[in-house]
């Protein structure tokens, strides 16, 4: 059953396409050598090129081009060996050149596709229309002074990838899943850090609504939405607004809107009539960008494993599709899991990572990047269980101790004397004491109350402070009860 919104006139389908601006991970800007680090003091990472000084000229940063190509390859997209930079002309105080250098007519990456996973376990393919490279603008700060605006050019000239999807999404969930998956791929590739709260990724959300079986109706673009949650909210809010207009007999006008996160509604930013005429034309300062197939092949060969492939590999290792999905969501989680699972039972490793480790991370408010227990230590813990040194119960205890102290499992086992007792003689001696002390219960057992078996086992374990090997304790109880 496909997703619809219910209006007075019946169900409405939502049509969503996303334009995502992803900041390229690189040390220098797209056309200048200035640094790109986040959080630097205002106007400290600005070259004369970024500030649009007279006579300054852009020179393409090869690494940014490589990152765009890697991303295109990761999106299974067409890599265009010939692309071109155009100027997008408009005036704004934080746009020093008076134009943005972008790729309008001939992008570096053409059509591709992303497979998204939905909550019901189904998957869906979302088409990628194109990816192009462009410069970011600077930042206008309107809240620093009662009557003045301040300009910070640190971002001016930073390389962005604009990744445009087809209008293939049909629900807020699909839009969220698309953005989640795109972010995951970029982070696996190392081409964008995906930090939406630092502005490294932002989305322009195109939304329209329609009745089942119709062609597309007029869309509106909701600009600069900066979290996955807000994108999902914006889709629904904008769709509801449009449904209301249509149902009241009105017409949705094509326009650019903003999402008011506090009130959960979209607001008009500018109408089609106010739209800029950007006067795009080829940037005469930059020759066409010509790539060698050979170079593209080299980048392809050195591409890291992507989420889809990694997930398939985990399933082949014996994990459930759900576990494989969860473990591959963040590449840091996958890396952690792989360290734990290396040479060990993958299923057990997955259970520990997704169970005890995730719980510990939540409890201690840490992250998989700085985990409360080192992956290597968790691996050793699994080994200690496998060779019988620790029971499952003891292992949990050791794990908690590791969370608290950060020490290795070996050290904790030694220090606390948690080693499991596997000496059958010693176990039998304790069992004998337990039976002796509970002669009445033994009599009841022998008269048919077999449920008491567990009581004897429990008493024995208690007497051994939990260190008795459970299987051996069971065996000894059975033996001595005759």
């Amino acid at each position: 059953m496909s997703y619809t919104l219910e209006g007075r006139t019946g169900p409405w389908e939502i049509v969503v396409g996303l334009e995502v601006h992803a900041q390229v991970t690189s040390n220098a800007k797209l056309f200048s050598g200035a640094a790109t680090a986040f959080g630097a003091a205002p106007n400290t990472q600005v070259s004369f090129i970024d500030a649009g000084f007279p006579g300054m000229l852009p020179v393409i940063n090869r690494e940014c081009v490589a990152q765009a190509v890697r991303t295109g390859l990761g999106l299974k997209a067409q890599i265009n060996l010939w692309s071109r930079f155009d100027r997008k002309n408009y005036f704004y105080a934080d746009l020093p050149q008076g134009y943005q250098i972008s790729q309008y007519a001939h992008p570096i990456v053409g059509e591709g596709a992303i497979e998204i996973e939905l909550a019901d376990g189904s998957t869906k393919t979302v088409g990628i229309t194109r990816l192009h490279l462009e410069q970011d603008a600077g930042k206008s700060l309107h809240d620093q002074h009662p009557t003045k605006s301040y300009i910070d050019l640190n971002r001016s000239g930073v390389a962005l990838m604009e990744i445009v999807s087809e209008p293939d999404m049909r629900s807020p969930e699909e839009a969220g899943a698309y953005l989640t998956k795109l972010r995951q791929i970029l982070r696996y590739l190392g081409t964008c850090d995906g930090n939406m709260d630092e502005g490294s990724m932002r989305a322009d959300v195109n939304v329209s609504v329609r009745k089942a079986g119709e062609g597309y109706r007029t869309r509106c673009e909701v600009k600069n939405v900066n979290s996955i949650r807000f994108v999902m909210q914006a889709v629904e809010a904008e769709a509801r607004r449009q449904i209301e207009i249509w149902e009241e007999g009105g017409t949705v006008e094509q326009e650019t809107r903003l999402f008011d996160t506090a009130r959960g509604v979209t607001r008009s930013m500018r109408s089609k009539e106010d739209a800029h005429d950007y006067r795009y034309f080829p940037d005469p300062d930059l020759p066409p960008l010509v790539l060698e197939q050979n170079w593209v092949d080299q980048l392809k060969a050195s591409l890291p494993e992507l989420p889809d492939e990694r997930r398939a590999r985990y399933v082949a290792m014996g994990l459930s599709p759900y576990d494989a999905h969860v473990l591959t969501l963040e590449k840091e989680t996958a890396a952690y899991f792989e360290t734990v699972a290396k040479g060990r039972d993958a299923k057990i490793a997955a259970n520990w990572v997704m169970g005890d480790l995730f719980a510990a991370i939540n409890r201690t408010r840490t992250s998989i990047a700085e985990p409360p227990v080192k992956a290597e230590y968790l691996g050793v813990l699994l080994d200690l269980m496998k060779d019988g040194t620790l029971s499952g119960k003891l292992a949990k205890e050791v794990f908690e101790a590791m969370v608290e102290t950060g020490r290795s499992p070996g050290a904790i086992v030694e220090e606390r004397g948690l080693r499991q007792v596997t000496d059958t003689g010693a176990i039998e001696r304790i069992v004998a004491q337990v039976l002796e002390a509970n002669a009445d219960k033994v009599a009841e057992y022998k008269s048919g109350k077999e449920k008491l078996f567990g009581f004897f086992v429990g008493q024995t374990m208690k007497a051994m402070q939990g260190k008795g090997n459970p299987a051996l304790v069971n065996e000894a109880v059975k033996k001595l009860l005759g």
Binding site: F53, G55, L57, F91, G98, S149, R279, F281, P284, D285
Partner: protein, 495 residues
């Protein structure tokens, strides 16, 4: 002989032989500037103290036996080249207070080779003009005057009018200039000196205030073809900071001047015989071709069929690029800022640009904005780009059969400062012979070849294959030798 009468090469020899010091040479030019610049207005900024300090340092280097190829040679720098710590105006009010913190690659190359900078010379505002009357710092006067009408003040041509007037009046041994549609060759021809627009990509554009990026090219003006060759050798070279700069070796251009023209095939484009062109220009052209034949060249008629579209094409492409290049002059970061107390951003833009740009610049920004606008782009800009490709192809075809092309440099001699000012299109016609080389990216040299009836200099133009400035210099030098051009302007230093 007065020190300002040296050719650039002659000055280098005199310096090498110790006949004169750089300080003496520099001071002689500064004296000339002091005397004549109030009238000619060739210099916007005279760098007297700095020039003398550079000259002293140069003399010291020479004394230590380390002398660059241009050691101690006083030059003028077009005020479109950014010079670190020195006012750089582009002839515009909007950059009237702009002191760049960086040195253009071309001027840095000259300093590297030992040159002394006398000052920054005048130009049409943002290099837009053919008469040097659009400068915010006043018009430049041509040091030449008509024999029968000495009181009419003449234009030096443009946009490099300050460069050409300064060199012609002996206020510099040579000067940097730039050429977008003829801005080196037309003023050189009007002022009776030589000037070359090299192949696009030969000189770095880094640090040169942009007019039309795909057409702009720096080059030298000087009083002889060989002097231009010496200067170009220093100015040229690959620059990784300019993506359109060509990574090709820089040959010994001066040596090429002595190659001769024996066996060369010289193309004579029939489309350049304009209706209504003064007979003197046609006669001089024919004379030039005869000189070349006399020295062993063969002249052949060729066709460049798209020539008639060159001027309209140029006046679409150049303003389009300019409208975008000049967007950065907005009053926000540098240069002029005009704002009222309650100005918002739009008001700041409007006031700044209204006050900062002159009428010709505004005209071209409007034309450029128009031809790039939605609905007009295909009809103007895109079509112009297609014709530009055809013009280029015309030359490619021609250069399969000829080694160089010779044409007049300009359709007339220098005109009066009050003439041709009413109709911009009449002014634009000045570029009719020169714009094609910019559109095709080819080297073009103007060389003085004779005088008109009124005693004003006329020039011929040599166009060559891309990156074959050597042949261009060889042909230019052959014309120069035969013309034996010795006339001098009335206004000049040392008299």
């Amino acid at each position: 002989m007065h020190p300002t009468d040296f050719s650039l090469r002659g000055a280098i020899e005199a310096l090498n032989e110790g006949l004169i010091s750089s300080v003496e040479l520099t001071r002689a030019h500064l004296d000339g500037i002091e005397k004549l610049n109030p009238r000619l207005n060739a210099y916007i900024t005279v760098m007297a103290e700095q020039a003398l300090a550079q000259a002293r340092a140069s003399d010291a280097r020479r004394a230590e036996g380390v002398a660059g190829p241009l050691e101690g040679v006083p030059l003028a720098i077009k005020d479109l080249f950014c010079t670190a710590g020195t006012l750089t105006t582009a002839g515009s009010r909007i950059l009237g207070n702009f002191v760049p913190p960086y040195e253009s690659t071309v001027s840095a190359n000259l300093l590297r080779d030992g040159a002394v900078f006398l000052g920054k010379v005048n130009l049409d505002e943002f290099a837009m003009g053919s008469s040097n009357t659009t400068s915010a710092f006043g018009p430049v006067e041509n040091p030449w005057s008509r024999a029968n009408d000495p009181d009419t003040r003449l234009v030096p041509g443009g946009s490099s009018g300050g460069s050409a007037a300064a060199v012609a009046a002996r206020l510099a041994l040579g000067a940097t200039a730039t050429d977008t549609g003829g801005s080196i060759r037309q003023p050189a021809a009007f002022c009776g000196i030589a000037g070359i627009k090299p192949t696009y990509g030969r000189c770095s554009r880094w640090g040169v205030v942009a007019f039309a990026s795909s057409l702009d090219q720096a080059g030298p003006v000087a009083r002889t073809v060989e002097d231009c060759a010496i200067l170009l050798k220093s100015m040229a070279g690959f620059d990784p900071k300019d993506s359109t700069s060509a990574d090709v070796p820089v040959p010994d251009f001066a040596a090429a001047c002595a190659r001769g023209v024996k066996g060369l095939r010289i193309g004579v484009p029939k489309e350049y015989r304009l209706e209504g062109m003064p007979a003197e220009i046609g006669a001089l052209w024919e004379q030039g071709l005869q000189w070349l034949r006399d020295q062993g060249a063969e002249t052949v008629e060729i066709s460049l069929p798209h020539t008639k579209y060159a001027l309209p094409t140029y006046y679409i492409v150049a303003p389009a690029e300019a409208s975008s290049n000049l967007a950065r002059y907005d009053g926000v970061r540098f240069g002029l800022r005009e704002a009222a107390k309650d100005s918002d951003l739009k008001d700041l833009y409007e006031r700044t640009r209204a006050a900062g740009f002159g009428p010709e610049v505004k005209r071209r920004i409007m034309i450029g904005t128009y031809v790039l606008s939605a609905g007009y782009y295909d009809a103007y800009y895109l079509k112009a780009q297609k014709i530009r490709a055809l013009i280029k192809r015309d030359f490619d075809d021609a250069f399969r059969t000829v080694d160089a092309i010779v044409t007049p440099a300009t359709p007339s001699a220098a005109f009066g400062m009050d003439e041709k000012q009413d109709d911009p299109v009449t002014m634009y016609l000045n570029d009719v012979f020169t714009v094609t080389a910019n559109l095709a990216g080819l080297p073009g040299l103007a060389v003085p070849a004779g005088l008109d009836r009124q005693g004003l200099p006329l020039g011929l133009q040599v166009i060559g294959r891309a990156f074959d400035e050597e042949t261009v210099f060889a042909v230019g030098a052959a014309i120069e030798t035969a013309a034996d051009f010795r006339a001098v302007p009335t206004l000049r230093a040392g008299v």
